[in-house]
């Protein structure tokens, strides 16, 4: 579980996060939404301990796994090598991965439908394939808290489904606590138990999904009209494609 209280974080001398409070219970899923540059990545990095907060408390109970937004490596490791590195905590300082570790990785590769990428050099994979491998790396760590930065940004619809479903299942069946950022409210709709909306110059608004996620809040959050559509009997949010109508500054 995660407890954040009065969190203040600065980057390069500027306050990025100011007074952030929320709690994610064990097995909960928190979706973090907000405009570009509002501090989502900064928040996640603070949770995993890369940035030190200026003030406030930030407790993460349990081993964490982290999936970064962009990724690139200097050496030509295979996808298996990369995913195996997720086993760092289980292998021990002087050890190397063993059969069991390979098996764990293979299980997640299979679940994510990328078993055929195992032997491929990571740097030759497509953007989406890399993102899947990085998620597999984090899952392979068998962490208790999984933190993902825009895990679905580079994924196609099918792979989005696979990832979102997997997160949902792991949280329900294995009490995995999940925090993820996304620019698609739809993902929050589907699996989040809690939602945190981050604003540029106001403290974030957090709470249970049902309380926080609605068309009015989202429209305010992004500064564009967001409408609620019912689709195949479920709620779906989409923004109004107003191009050509709105008053954009002239070229």
């Amino acid at each position: 579980m995660i407890e954040v209280e009065g969190l203040v974080v600065s980057r390069g001398g500027r306050r990025v996060i100011e007074g952030c409070d929320f709690v994610v219970p064990k097995g909960g899923i928190l979706a973090v939404l907000g405009a570009n540059g509002v501090g989502k990545t900064t928040l996640l990095m603070t949770l995993i301990g890369v940035h030190r907060p200026d003030a406030g408390r930030c407790t993460v109970g349990g081993r964490t796994g982290y999936v970064p937004q962009l990724y690139d490596v200097a050496f030509s490791y295979t996808a298996m090598d990369i995913a195996l590195m997720g086993r760092a905590r289980h292998v021990g300082l002087f050890g190397a991965p063993r059969q069991r570790d390979y098996a764990v990785v293979r299980r997640f590769f299979a679940l994510m439908g990328i078993a055929d990428l195992e032997e491929r050099t990571f740097n030759t994979l497509s953007g989406g394939q890399r993102q899947l491998v990085m998620i597999a790396q984090a899952l392979a760590s068998e962490c208790e808290v999984l933190i993902l930065d825009e895990p679905c940004a580079a994924l196609d619809y099918k792979n989005q489904r696979i990832v979102i479903d997997l997160l949902d299942r792991l949280s329900r069946e294995h009490d995995l606590t999940v925090v993820f950022t996304t620019h698609a409210p739809q993902h929050a709709v589907e699996i989040a138990s809690d939602v945190l909306l981050m604003y540029p110059s106001a403290p974030p608004l957090g709470g249970a999904r049902a309380d926080v996620l609605n068309a009015a809040n989202l429209s305010a959050l992004y500064g564009v009209p967001i409408g609620r559509a019912d689709f195949v009997g479920r709620e779906a949010y989409t923004y109004a494609p107003l191009y050509g109508h709105a008053g954009d500054t002239a070229r």
Partner: protein, 327 residues
């Protein structure tokens, strides 16, 4: 293959010892009292001259190559070699100072080794600003300290008398294992074997570190521990090598690239492969150093002269980028 190369190496040299005699000599050590089929001089040559330098060559080649590979992974920079952290120049200065002061034998070893280790400490101090050490600072601090000691070596050379100590310093710095005795081999073994083992044990951690600091931290690796363990282990290897045998460049920089062209990027395979390749390479180079001419050519020279064409060929042949992301 390494063992075969070592055995073969024992039989060759300036003083003719037949294979038969070699076997007899080695055998008489295993089975005391077996009757000797060899001359006393042959025994001295094999036991006191050849064996120590063969062991030294293997240890040095192994140690330098493995520490080069580990450091290249750690720093994520293909230009890094074991000299990067300042140890080589530091130990080189220590040795120079010892020769200048007329100290030799164990005194020289101790001074060179001490300076080598001290220079890493200085590097660590220079590179640590406000409790944090960035890789760039570490590398630059290493460069700075190396440059400083290189200058100090030059000054020492200026002060040395030009007929006795200057040539001794110059030759020593160029790297030679010609006069290595079992004492040197012992120091080498003590410096190289545990360090190489530690580096090998950290093979998987090196993989992780090569993803970059942030990623390694997120994966739960104790970054500082791993980094300083590898740096210290490399420092021990380099200090040991320089103290016993002078500065032997090139092996630690290039062998890892050769190994990667064969086994890819994974340090679990790169480390043993590069160690083996380094050991065999230095052994062969030393064989040539011992036999090519009456004069001993310093190892530092042959290792480059022979390495260059071989390495150029290998690189061109396997023009895949061998483990590094090509760009």
């Amino acid at each position: 293959m390494l063992v075969a190369a070592m055995l073969y190496s024992v039989t060759i040299g300036r003083y003719d010892v037949s294979l038969h005699e070699v076997v007899s000599i080695l055998w008489s050590n295993l089975v005391p009292g077996s009757d000797a089929q060899h001359s006393q001089i042959a025994q001295t040559v094999v036991e006191k001259v050849r064996l120590p330098r063969i062991l030294a060559a293997v240890l040095i080649g192994f140690g330098l190559a493995i520490s080069g590979a580990a450091l290249q992974g750690l720093f994520r920079n293909p230009l890094v070699d074991p000299g990067i952290i300042g140890v080589t120049a530091g130990a080189g200065f220590g040795g120079t100072l010892a020769i200048l002061l007329g100290v030799s034998g164990y005194g020289l070893l101790a001074i060179a080794f001490g300076f080598g280790i001290a220079s890493v400490v200085v590097v660590k101090f220079l590179a640590t600003v406000g409790g944090r050490t960035s890789l760039l600072m570490l590398v630059l601090a290493g460069v700075v300290v190396s440059a400083f000691f290189a200058a100090a070596i030059s000054i020492a050379k200026l002060l040395a008398d030009p007929f006795q100590k200057l040539p001794a310093i110059t030759y020593w710095l160029m790297g030679s294992i010609a006069s290595n005795n079992y004492g040197d081999v012992l120091l080498l073994a003590v410096a190289v074997a545990p360090s190489a083992l530690v580096i090998y044990l950290l093979r998987y951690q090196i993989n992780i570190m090569s993803l970059g600091e942030e990623r390694a931290r997120a994966l739960g690796t104790p970054i500082a521990t791993v980094r300083w363990t590898i740096l210290l282990a490399s420092a021990f290897i380099s200090a040991g090598v320089v103290a016993t045998s002078g500065i032997i460049g090139w092996v630690g920089l290039v062998m890892p690239h050769v190994a990667r062209t064969f086994v890819g990027a994974d340090h679990r395979r790169v480390l043993p492969a590069t160690g083996l390749i380094g050991a065999i390479y230095l052994l062969l180079v030393d064989d040539i150093a011992r036999t090519a001419t009456t004069a001993e050519i310093p190892l530092g020279i042959i290792t480059a002269l022979i390495g260059v064409p071989v390495f150029a060929l290998i690189l061109r042949r396997l023009h895949s980028h061998g483990g590094w992301r090509g760009d």
